[in-house]
């Protein structure tokens, strides 16, 4: 697939005798939203961790077009947000800039405050993570991910533990901010078919391989037999997103 922004080739990872990722090939286009779906424990998060560098793949390559060493282009949104309890929201958002870039205090403050405003976190700026709501924590974590202007953000099950209404708000937030800031999204999610409403591509991971890659519309119209079994319990009760 030409013109892909993130390219995975032959990516493999095993833990002991257990093969988690088996020579995975995947292409993520620029400014797109790709969601990796699959059963629990199948290796979706391992795939994201290999891409982000948290885990070292046993073999294979991960290539990001236009990547430069000095400007890390990945940002990672963790399931539990991974905000630092001892830092307030402002300090959490400022952390990557303070630690890695030579910016003046004024410039740093301007950049952080601008994001705080755009993500509607004004009331939470001086509060600690324990003092704010779950939605605010998600937005604060997203602001921290956005502060270094990454080109791709990896979302690891961003709606885990949220009620349906909050799930919808998180998906909306991701869609809106992706449009606003223009980053590429790769997301791992269990929320099928709700997530189909915001994603451009779906990658189905099963037994270490990507068994399906394509648009959610095509997937819902003619799912592969095995994937239909994975989708059916949900499809029988929920109306698929358009």
């Amino acid at each position: 697939m030409s013109g892909s922004f993130l390219q995975l080739r032959g990516l493999s990872k095993r833990f002991g005798p257990q093969v988690i990722l088996d020579a995975i090939d995947l292409d993520i286009p620029l400014n797109s939203h790709t969601t990796v779906i699959g059963r629990s424990g199948i290796g979706k998060s391992v795939l994201l961790k290999c891409i982000s560098g948290l885990l070292k793949p046993d073999s294979g390559t991960i290539r990001l077009s236009n990547s430069t060493e000095s400007n890390p282009q990945f940002a990672y949104m963790f399931q539990q947000n991974a905000l630092f309890d001892s830092l307030n929201v402002f300090e959490n958002i400022a952390l990557p800039l303070r630690e890695k870039e030579k910016v003046s205090a004024q410039n740093l403050s301007e950049r952080v405050n601008s994001l705080i405003e755009e993500l509607d976190l004004q009331n939470a700026a001086t509060k600690y993570p324990a003092e704010i709501s779950g939605g605010m924590k998600k937005r604060a974590a997203l602001a921290r991910a956005l502060i270094t202007k990454p080109e791709i953000i990896l979302f690891d099950e961003p709606t885990t533990g949220l009620d349906p209404e909050r799930k919808f708000s998180v998906f909306e937030m991701i869609r809106n901010y992706r449009q606003q800031f223009g980053f590429t999204v790769m997301m791992v999610s269990h929320d099928v078919p709700e997530v189909f409403g915001i994603t451009d591509q779906v990658a189905w991971l099963d037994e270490g391989k990507i068994r399906y890659w394509g648009s959610p519309k095509d997937l819902l119209e003619s799912p592969p037999i095995k994937l239909a079994g994975f989708l059916n319990p949900k499809l029988s009760t929920d109306k698929p997103a358009a």
């Binding site: 982000s52 890390p72 990945f74 940002a75 991974a82 952390l95 990557p96 303070r98 890695k100």
Partner: protein, 260 residues
């Protein structure tokens, strides 16, 4: 049985190697990050300032007890006038560095291990890595240098308060001559004795901080149970191993320093 002993031996040596690499990496990474002074100051506050009360309390009572015990031993040889010398040398060379280190481990070491363990479980260490921030430089290194600074200072506080505790028992309560108490200390205690105590304190600071940080940092690998109980397990292990490290290295250091 031999196989089991062999496996345990290999595992011990392997862990010792990991610990050494962990310590060396943390030690070498302080100045490869930004805002070093700010982080160091915060760590000095956590390890040093917050441990002052407990160090003073324990130092004072240790001095009181030591004054009492040594007085009764020395009375048997009619050498009560040597009380100041005995109290001061025991505290400065041995009890001061060891007790201070154990107190700091109990307060700051356990907190360090638990904090890093919780950060590991909450994926905050992974978050640092994804932000391209070296977790060892950010979390461990400032504490390691702070320990090198704070352990000798707190030991000095312990020494002073302990000697005054011995004075309170010996001079004020048991009637030892005040002039004899202080003059014996002045005659017997050399700068080398004080410095030896500080070298010990620095070694204990280095060892215990590395052990506590290591246990917390690898809580997901070291604990047999994940989550909060895992953190509690590694924190307990950190305190126990640190105490063993203090006492065993104290023996080695004492042998080396007394030979000089």
């Amino acid at each position: 049985m031999f196989v089991r002993i062999g496996r345990k031996g290999i595992s011990f040596v392997s862990e010792l190697g990991e610990l050494t690499i962990f310590g060396a990496s943390s030690f070498g990474s302080l100045f490869r990050q930004r805002h070093t002074f700010e982080k160091l100051t915060r760590s000095i506050y956590e390890i040093g300032v917050r441990c002052i009360p407990i160090t003073l309390i324990v130092g004072f009572f240790t001095g009181l007890v030591l004054g009492l015990q040594l007085y009764y031993v020395l009375t048997k040889f009619s050498s009560e006038s040597l009380l100041g010398q005995a109290v001061a040398l025991s505290i400065i060379m041995e009890i001061g560095p060891v007790f201070t280190a154990i107190m700091i481990v109990g307060q700051a070491g356990s907190a360090l291990s638990a904090e890093i363990g919780i950060q590991r479980n909450a994926e905050q260490i992974d978050a640092l890595q994804t932000m391209n921030i070296n977790p060892l430089a950010f979390l461990v290194s400032p504490r390691l240098y702070a320990a090198l600074i704070c352990f000798p200072i707190l030991t000095a506080f312990f020494d002073i308060v302990g000697i005054y505790g011995g004075h309170l028992t010996g001079v004020s309560m048991l009637g030892v001559d005040q002039g004899a108490y202080w003059s014996r200390i002045y005659e017997a205690v050399s700068v080398k004795n004080v410095m030896d105590g500080f070298y010990k304190a620095m070694t204990f600071g280095l060892l215990t901080t590395i052990i506590c940080a290591f246990q917390g940092y690898y809580t997901h690998l070291k604990a047999s149970i994940p989550g909060a109980r895992g953190v509690s397990q590694t924190t307990t292990r950190a305190v126990v191993l640190s105490s063993i490290a203090i006492l065993s290295s104290d023996y080695l250091l004492t042998s080396l320093l007394l030979e000089k």
